[in-house]
Symmetry: C2
């Protein structure tokens, strides 16, 4: 197995990721008091009798460490995030340090590989091809959900066959919830297989008191910020366009906010704030149009607007329209309508209120809503070009204001969506070190006999040497939430807190950023330059951990 | 004047760009034989009696150099390209080396600044803020064309008032053509002001025997290649999407081809080849669909497709449709049609042949064609989402083939457009050095009394120390071409040569790239790492200059 490498890949493969001091030699586990879940304690306890209430774990240096004989299995679950390969190389090196004869198996294309018994042994020659690289291509990823007893039972067969003592699941909140369900099941059955999770997602929404940041968020936001900075500079040079850009990040606005902190755009919407203040689509549009008008009055017919992917779900009138569209488009009759007649069909079937909203939308966005459906016949919310929707509606608003003399500028917009560009970027030094440490640390949790834990690394704004390594019981982060009509135990998702330090810093500065030109141009991620260029964690982390 | 800087900007500002050995001390001009234009010699000679037939110039080290007392004016013309600020800082340092008391004036927002007498003096404190940065924001850029005697006469007033001996115009082929027209006019009038051009454009189409590459092409293509590489890695990890991405680059396919050489995608279209082989839209679609089907047969329902921006202009049936749409939409009647009725209006007015083509297009592309018009009522070709057009038509073709049993895969596509992301990126070491050298060298052309020349740097695949600095008479690159119905003297635009080494390398490898997975992931531009990561010129240059 050999990959044709770019010069950066070749040079970067020699990078030795940093480990916390505690993980550099033999360790012992220092355990805290029993833990409680963040909500619904008695229900979560009832659902996870074997993995509830376990203590927090921190690893501290020890004089010796026993050699334990075990093999490990690893799964990449869900969307790609930079650093996944380093979690796996950390696992590999950590395993070899404890048990030189131990084997690491990778299940292919996500959790489905466990169920279907598709795997490879990850040898040192494979691992060495993937050190410090982006992507999940070493074993592929997938979105099969591990939820059913049949899956667990199928899994245990191959785990036993391969002599796997512990399974490491690298994933987001849902995947880690499922990791815990699996840990509980194997513990209840006394199958002797541990399950450990690792916190992955570029969206940044898997974080809490225990998890400072999910891996990949650093690299992805820095990659997007590079592009936003370039576009800001273009905007500031040509002085004639409004640049609307949407960013991946699911419901939460962590990605947009981190990018805003790095690049200081003219406008950045935060979905959580839009929802908290109950803004209508018209109010959001007016907010942007107002800034456009203010800048126009100062002779500046240009600017940049950052839009979080999730905003559409936070605006009630659009939410209602989408819900009705899903109903209208899901019927058997609707499926027989020819493509070119579909818009008329939709218009004929919408309620008056939603029809008015539909008709107010720009034609191409209306086309997307009426035509682009997922295999279940639902509108694909993630495909809606919110950046165009908003800019077109801002243009319409400004045209109204022009009639009143309230606005006299020119408004021309360009549109961008940044998502896939960042998910497989070459990990930053931070993510390379953080992920390697997460993986290495996971082997310590395994050696300590833990299950139902997530590997965690804390104190991440300090140099890597001072990072704190340990584990958190996954149940500790759970509460009950409604999913598909049923209450289910899930890891509580982190939305942007409008009373948190990062948001407050943003909110305190955005009026200045809106009117003056305060752009910052972060440039591309650097691996070999001065430390202040190469090694800084996210602004979010810096602000959160500032005194 | 102070800009809030990212840590990369701050660190990067200390970089001292490299100069060719010949420019590191006093120089003298070594002149070649008289030159001829590339075409229409007698007509070009007749139009440029004072600037035609001048010799090529090369600068060689000399023992001393006279101090000449002069000021310089500089203009940024047209679209942004990384390195413009370094041309200006090279000009500044070059000027100060010859004439420490000399002043550099920047005309604001493009050639219009000269005509309207809008300018600033570029002092060392301003220059120092912009060294090694992307963007054209130091003085802004614009697209006013310098073509009229009135403009030239207005210009000479301010040039004289400021004691400017020479004007440096940084621009693409059209801007340099106009620089030459201005040089000729001032020479004919004996106004005593020289005009020097600098070859700028990310599109890569300003190149010929004398100009090895236009500046910005290196950085822009490396920035796009970073993103394409990231998307390829994502594609290869998720193994479920076809990623269609379009790249900026005007008519020529240099940008797409360079990106293909750097990233080895599954498919890359080259407009010049499509035209040369007279392919119809259906043939282009079939070419892609055929590769999709081949990969599907091997279980690979994923891949990447690179599309040059200009391809739409090279497909005859689309060209005809656009031409008729422009006529249909330009009438007074069309302007009164309500937005929601516009598509029906268009359909009612197209000829049968073009209507069939229009109806065959995906609905959102049809919307764009019918609705998005420039201020003259024309279809905005650059806004047509060719990446969607092609992927939708590929999907339709595959659906047909599925009925015949010729294809049995799944086809899901994602779409990207990379353009504005690359125009203002922080210049690569190559562009930082090349641009600084172009600017520094321009001051030598000025000191040597040259006008109607473009600043050139050759031997660019060698280390900067060995680069060759000199000048080429702009008339040498000209021929007559039809513009808006009239024959005009213009610099011949370089299209991709299908018999050139870079294309041949691409063509020799693409079948392998299509079927096997040969992706290369270039990663972000590096400034401080190993030389083979930080200092390589484009693959195009490397192949062109290979023995």
């Amino acid at each position: 197995m050999s990959i044709e490498k770019s010069s950066l890949q070749a040079a970067r493969s020699a990078y030795q990721p940093k480990l916390p001091k505690a993980l550099q030699g033999p360790v012992k586990a220092s355990e805290g008091a029993p833990t409680q879940s963040v909500g619904n304690q008695s229900e979560i306890n009832g659902l996870f009798p074997n993995t509830y209430g376990m203590p927090m774990v921190e690893f501290v240096p020890a004089s010796t460490e026993n050699v334990v004989d075990f093999n490990i299995g690893v799964i990449l679950s869900g969307g790609q995030a930079p650093g996944g390969h380093n979690v796996i190389s950390g696992l590999f090196d950590g395993l070899k340090a404890i048990n030189p004869g131990g084997k690491l198996y990778g299940f292919l294309m996500g959790p489905g590989g466990l169920v279907d018994h598709k795997y490879i042994e990850l040898t040192s020659s494979i691992i060495d091809e993937y050190r410090n690289t982006g992507g999940f291509d070493i074993i592929g990823s997938g979105r099969t959900k591990l939820e059913e007893t049949d899956q667990f039972e199928s899994g245990i067969k191959i785990l036993r066959e391969l002599g796997i003592k512990a399974l490491v699941i690298i994933g987001g909140d849902d995947s880690n919830t499922n990791a815990c369900v699996l840990a509980e099941y194997y513990a209840a059955k006394n199958y002797g297989v541990q399950v450990i999770g690792c916190p992955k997602t570029i969206d940044g929404d898997l974080k809490n008191e225990q998890i400072e940041t999910s891996f990949g968020f650093d690299t992805a936001t820095k990659t997007y910020a590079e592009l936003i900075g370039n576009i800001e500079r273009d905007c500031n040079s040509a002085r004639k366009y409004w640049q609307f850009s949407k960013r991946m990040g699911r419901s939460a606005s962590h990605v947009a906010r981190e990018c805003a902190l790095l690049t200081q755009p003219v406008v950045c919407l935060i979905s959580e704030e839009v929802e908290a203040s109950g803004q209508s689509l018209d109010q959001v549009v007016s907010y942007i149009a107002d800034i456009v008008a203010k800048r126009a009055a100062a002779g500046k017919n240009f600017g940049t607007v950052l839009i979080p992917e999730g905003i559409i779900e936070f605006i009630p009138s659009i939410k209602r329209l989408i819900a009705e569209l899903n109903d209208v488009l899901a019927t058997e009759e609707a499926k027989t309508v020819a493509r070119e007649d579909q818009i008329e069909y939709v218009k004929a079937h919408l309620s008056a209120e939603n029809l008015a909203q539909f008709n107010s939308l720009p034609i191409d966005v209306a086309c997307q809503l009426a035509l682009d459906r997922d295999p279940h016949g639902n509108v694909q919310v993630s495909l809606i070009e919110t950046e165009k929707l908003l800019s077109r509606m801002v243009a319409a608003k400004l045209a109204e204001w022009k009639k009143d003399g309230r606005y006299t500028g020119k408004f021309a917009a360009q549109h961008h969506f940044f998502g896939y560009e960042g998910r497989c970027a070459t990990p930053s030094n931070f993510d390379a070190d953080y992920c390697y440490s997460l993986g290495y640390n996971a082997t310590k949790l395994i050696a300590a006999g833990k299950t139902g834990y997530m590997s965690i690394i804390k104190n991440t704004t300090a140099p890597a040497n001072e990072w704190i390594a340990g584990g958190v019981p996954i149940t500790m982060m759970m509460n009950l939430e409604k999913r598909s009509g049923k209450m289910k135990p899930v890891i509580r998702k982190a939305l942007v807190e409008t009373d948190g330090k990062p948001f407050k810093f943003f909110a305190a500065n955005r009026e200045k950023w809106a009117v003056e030109d305060c752009y910052v141009y972060p440039g591309p991620i650097q691996y070999w330059g001065p430390s202040e260029v190469c090694d800084l964690p996210t602004r979010t982390l810096q602000l959160e951990q500032s005194k």
